[in-house]
Symmetry: C2
Subunit: 194 residues, 2 copies
């Protein structure tokens, strides 16, 4: 299963490195029968400077990545992506193609901007709840939860909540026992209920 | 205060991105009076492929970084560093110079290998407790804790425990209230007692 994490300039570091750690650790624990292949995708193929000057090299650009099963959109300073027509078109196209689209933190703003028909329950960082409600009145924005699972759309709260959501996705897409073992390997106190 | 995080080939992704997120978020919350400058340091200046193919560009090499106040050594596949004389000499020299040396996960193996006189209480990933005891009998290896604070040497358990330890360091090096605010910003359930 191919898990693509979308990153961009000033994306929040833990929003993408947390889910990357979860899916890569889960795969490592399965040895040769690794259920997930996880990689970072950016608009171009050059290195991306995420928030606070943390520079990471994407595995693929939006023009050359393998077919995705899951798209994860990280949060951070997402504002530039909200008017980037190339990114919005790619997110819309991918969200129609993949099994599941997930967002971390303010990544939901990008997904909601790209997919006009999106009108389910979602969440985001506690600081951005009111902005999300104001900007997208068609969404049912839920506060005070680690993540919201609406089937093919799963959104998480801020920053570290993306780790809890990713463990939930391991459980949902593969099996619960692997998510439990992954959390134990990461010494992470997984909040299993949303 | 300059916080340098040492990374290397096959370092564990969350071991360095977690502490980076903590110190950079703590700084951001302080606005213009940012107490910390956090950066990644590698042996060379070229991009480093950490575990599972995650490639990050260090801010500095061990030959050109600014003077450090705190050195954080990440864990992961640390074995190659255990016989890397250039790295061991640099770690020893830095540990004598800085206010505080911290380790995440198996980073303690590198520190103990570099500093022969190290003989305090430490911890590591639960999977590596017995190896650490067997390899360094002069250390008092403690199991089942998030971190161990021995004044100028602070070591954490595995992977995500590095986030708890980093929040503790924000509290210790600056003030507790900033650590609480940082954990809240990260939506992280900080385990405040070791």
């Amino acid at each position: 299963m191919n898990i693509g994490i979308f990153i961009y300039r000033d994306a929040e570091v833990l929003d993408f490195s947390g889910p990357f750690e979860v899916f890569s650790t889960a795969s490592r624990l399965c040895g040769t029968e690794s259920p997930f292949s996880v990689f970072l995708i950016a608009e171009g193929s050059e290195a991306v400077t995420a928030r606070a000057g943390y520079t990471v090299v994407p595995h693929y650009s939006i023009d050359d990545h393998p077919p995705l099963d899951v798209l994860i959109i990280s949060g951070g300073v997402h504002t530039q992506q909200m008017t980037n027509e190339k990114i919005l078109a790619w997110v819309k196209q991918q969200s129609e193609y993949v099994k599941l689209t997930a967002t971390v933190c303010t990544g939901i703003f990008i997904l909601a901007q790209a997919v006009e028909s999106l009108s389910c329950s979602v969440t985001t960082h506690w600081e951005d709840i009111n902005d999300l409600k104001a900007m997208f009145s068609r969404l049912d924005v839920i506060q005070g939860v680690r993540w919201v699972d609406e089937g093919s759309i799963v959104s998480s709260g801020g920053i570290s909540a993306g780790i809890d959501m990713s463990l939930h996705l391991v459980s949902k897409l593969h099996r619960e026992n692997l998510a439990v073992k992954t959390a134990r390997q990461m010494e992470f106190a997984w909040v299993r209920s949303a």
